[in-house]
Amino acid sequence: MENLQELFIEAGTLMLAGMVFVFAFLGLLIVFINVVLVRLAKKYPDAIVESRATNKRNNKKQEGNAGVSPAVVAAISSAVTQYRQQHSTKK
């Protein structure tokens, strides 16, 4: 039973040390975000037009899509869904 007591003490120490460490680590991250990242965000704001979505995959080029009414887009979107379903059944 002494062995068990020893294990208990070890486990207790682990619990204490572990929780302190986890809080310290994530707490430091809070400081980092508040001090460093917030400043970086002010210094390097995103460009107005976020163009990352453009080259999501296979570097597809984005076309201008001004002038297309949302209603048309909605209709077409559903058509695309339908098209995809038809064409994915074969796979």
Binding site: G18, L26, L40, K56, R57
Partner: protein, 376 residues
């Protein structure tokens, strides 16, 4: 005649042992939970199937020369598969909500109490005859409280490979049960008014912040906890590939085809550890019990931490999002959102809960690192 006898001797029927039958039923049970109940199916389908395969008599799937043997030793014993999964998860993780509201990191930290309390509990179980968990075993079991599958598999493969099967079953089962386990605890620990708290909209986070964040996390891990760098490092690599915007094709592959391929193999490999001699014992019952305790304590700790923070700060947070700190991304965040909507139909907590949710992933990776450093 000789030939027919040989054929009969080579059938499964002539060679079955009871334990194998039971384990195959366990495998079928996992498949049932995955398919009919939608319990974490991406891992439980290959894992349940692997459990069936590994228990087939004569076939020798997990013996030298068998498929599952190769998969286990190439990918899980080395730690490669969980690390690649972690890279993919990193590539799928958006730290925006966390960076916008960094206080939620404290919720993710608090929820890790589920891990360390369970470690204590596993050692306490040794008081009951039949249990003899070493500190390594207890650590591997405790990580179930991290509610993070690849972390649990990685740690268990390093600290207690013979418990890997039971630990993985427990971890994924309870992750799937999060919508059932958490809400009662959340309701019990909060008042109606607390659940109604609405939170301010999050500030937009810039691209530069999102690029620097994974590097900062890695740097801190390097400084303070190198033992966690395999997990945190691969996670941050995935996240950096996602956010940096110049390797989108690598990021897309990491979060689609690569993670899919590895998930199939990981599930099969983990399932191969579900053999009768390693699973059908009282320790497995202990692990399942401890897992439930771990999730409950983690949930409670997150909620209570949020209530404590509300005492100390003017800016109130809805304590429900504290429960998301156990990770189980994105299920726990959705649960927080759902319980919040019950109290206040105009209160959308999903985005706010993503903060503690991804903080929980970091938190349990850090906890795993601590256990590796001190016990491993």
């Amino acid at each position: 005649m000789e030939s027919l006898k040989l054929l009969w001797m080579s059938t499964g029927l002539a060679n079955f042992e009871l334990g194998q039958v039971i384990m195959m039923l366990v495998g079928c049970g996992l498949l049932y939970l995955a398919i009919a109940r939608n319990f974490e199916p991406l891992l439980l389908v290959p894992m349940g199937f692997g459990a069936i395969l590994t228990n087939i008599p004569v076939a020798g799937f997990s013996e030298v020369g068998g498929l599952l043997h190769y998969i286990y030793y190439a990918g899980i014993d080395t730690g490669i598969f969980p690390l690649l999964i972690f890279m993919g998860v990193g590539a799928m993780t958006d730290f925006g909500a966390l960076i916008a509201n960094p206080k939620t990191l404290l919720l993710g930290a608090a929820a890790q109490f589920g891990i360390f309390a369970t470690l204590f509990g596993a050692i306490a179980l040794n008081a009951i005859p039949g249990f003899e968990f070493s500190l390594k075993d207890a650590s591997a079991i405790a990580i179930i409280g991290g509610a993070d599958g690849p972390t649990a598999i990685f740690l268990a493969s390093k600290l207690a490979p013979e418990l890997l099967g039971a630990i993985a079953v427990a971890a994924y089962s309870y992750m799937a049960l999060v919508p059932i386990i958490q809400p009662p605890i959340m309701r019990a620990l909060t008042t109606e008014d607390e659940r109604k708290i609405e939170m301010a909209q999050l500030r937009p986070v810039t691209r530069v912040e999102k690029i620097i964040f994974p590097l900062a996390v890695l740097l801190m891990t390097i400084f303070f906890l190198p033992a966690a760098t395999p997990l945190v490092g691969m996670f941050c690599l995935g996240n950096l590939m996602r956010e940096c915007g110049v390797v989108d094709r690598l990021s897309a592959t990491a979060q689609n085809e690569l993670i899919n391929i590895v998930t199939i193999f990981l599930g099969l490999g983990v399932g191969s550890k579900l053999s009768a001699d390693k699973f059908l014992n009282v320790e497995t019952l202990g692990i399942l019990a401890l897992g439930a305790v771990a999730f409950s304590i983690g949930t409670a700790s997150g909620v209570l931490m949020a209530k404590l923070m509300n005492r100390l700060s003017k800016e109130k947070i809805n304590p429900l999002i504290g429960a998301a700190g156990v990770s189980a991304v994105p299920m726990a965040a959705r649960v927080a959102n759902k319980v919040g909507l019950e109290a206040n139909p105009h209160n959308f907590l999903l985005m706010h809960a993503m903060g503690p949710n991804v903080a929980g992933v970091l938190g349990s990776a850090v906890a795993a690192g601590i256990l590796l450093a001190l016990v491993g």
